[in-house]
Amino acid sequence: MAEILQILILGLALGGVIALMGSGLSLVFGVMRIVNLAHPALIIGGAYITYLAFKAFDIDPIAMLPVAAVTMAAVGVVLYRLLFQREARSAKYSEMTVLLTFALAMMVEGLLGSLFTNTQRVTSPDYATAAFFIGDVFIPKGQLYAGLVSLAIIAALSLFLKYSRLGYAIRATTQNREAAELLGVNVQFISVLAFAIGIGLAGAAGSLVSFVFSFFPAKHWEWIAMLMSVVVLGGMGSILGTVVGALILSVVAAFVGTWIGATWSTLTFFLALFIILLVRPQGLFGEKPEMA
């Protein structure tokens, strides 16, 4: 019983971080129909920003989170203007953007690789290796903090989307871009905004990832399928779905990892992705079957 509780807690804490990693991906797809394969590579970008600050000035990774988020959001604006703005009216838009973001992922990987080499990195604040104990169950502080911060950020994002005027506009654009435009929403601005928020979330996730996982530039290939499975399970474009998908899958993966073997825990995500795409492509909360 204690073992099950232990695995559950580890899975949930990790699930929180994965939810944050996936939320930006989901938002960007929802508003712009861009399947951003470069999202994990940009998360790694955020992780390096945090890592550098930690190594050079001993700045705490969580304290560095806003900086990483804002920096990556700015990167997002530039990327949007350079890569996606002109594609907005392309006929094969969705396929085109997948390939473009794939190219972008390679560029980011290559750039980070030439700057920082492919050595495994990790930031090591004190809490990264510490843990709370409740009876026999231990909760690693690093994962717990990262999970809680992630969920707090996602909660703030959800409130913003639900109650602010801009959030209202973002949701309307997600549902029907043309209609939103015709009703007075500046969809160009909303697109840039949503893209910037999405990439900013990648930056924020990067800060947390930096002490939860070890990372190197090529690591993002492992994450893309993992995040895709989370986002697709939840339903592309649905933030709530992403959170639920992340929690479910990472708990399942934690059980698989403990009981069957660590190798198979990663496989859980990929197999899940396969199965979801085939059985229910719109995901749990998705309302957009045209994705399929």
């Binding site: 009216r89 309307a172 549902q175 029907n176 043309e178 209609a179 015709l182 009703l183 007075g184």
Partner: protein, 242 residues
């Protein structure tokens, strides 16, 4: 004769593609129902999209109340008072009727005023009140079209442009749509309509415009357009019409 909107000699197309309309012109007078007719691919929808800012205008001018609209975004043009309902009706299928109406007033800053206007719309269109809390996507075609047209009234626009409001509707329902249009124009809202069913459209309009191959061939009072033998032959399906 006062002109509300004047389109002179415009050229527009999609992306880098060929020009769909090339040399189209149009005059819109306040308070009337204007009907654009022409065969498939003539550029009727494209013309409306160019006016409302969804397509960039390559040449020519769109002048509204003496102000050039070229290069403005759809949201900016909407704020000037031109509202467009595309063929797909631009509804939010997963939002309720009431939420759709609320989105219709997105550009209004006064929330209380918005709610008051929504009430007014529901008052005038009983069918919408009946369905107020139903998802727009679950309604019939005619009801959806009614909602799309009613929604434009929330911001009290000067011009409402409708792209084939009769598309896919039963004949009886089509007449209801035209009745709504007449009501709109009686209230001083100018209607600019694209209609595939040329005869029906012209009969319900004050002003007719014939568009083909991206050019305006002719514009004039609807009755004159209807009566012209050449137009009857080319665009109204033979000489039987009168």
């Amino acid at each position: 004769m006062t002109k509300l909107l004047e389109v002179t000699n415009i050229t527009a197309g999609y992306g880098d593609g060929p020009a769909i309309i090339d040399g189209a012109h149009l005059t819109v007078e306040p308070g009337k129902v204007h009907c654009i007719i022409g065969p498939n691919g003539a550029g009727k929808s494209t013309l409306l999209k160019a006016i409302c800012g969804m397509l960039s205008i390559r040449k020519g001018d769109v002048v509204f109340k003496g102000e050039r609209l070229n290069g403005l975004r759809p949201d900016q043009i909407l704020r000037k008072g031109i509202c467009f309902v595309p063929q797909e009706r631009a509804l939010f299928a997963k939002m309720t009727v009431r939420e759709n109406l609320r989105m219709g007033g997105f550009i209004l800053d006064d929330k209380k005023e918005l709610e008051r206007r929504i009430e007014g719309i529901l008052e005038r269109f009983p069918i919408l009140r009946e369905r107020a809390d139903q998802h727009a996507g679950t309604m019939s075609g005619g009801q959806q079209q009614t909602l799309a047209m009613a929604r434009t009234l929330i911001i009290k626009p000067d011009i409402v442009m409708l792209d084939e409001p009769s598309l896919g509707l039963a004949p009886k329902v089509v007449q209801e749509m035209f009745d709504i249009m007449k009501m709109m124009s009686a209230e001083g809202v100018t209607v600019l309509l694209v209609e595939q069913n040329a005869l029906m459209g012209l009969k319900n309009a004050d002003w007719g415009v014939v568009l083909d191959l991206g050019r305006t061939l002719f514009e004039g009072p609807a009755a004159t357009v209807l009566a012209d033998p050449r137009i009857q032959e080319l665009y109204l399906g033979g000489k039987k019409a009168a």
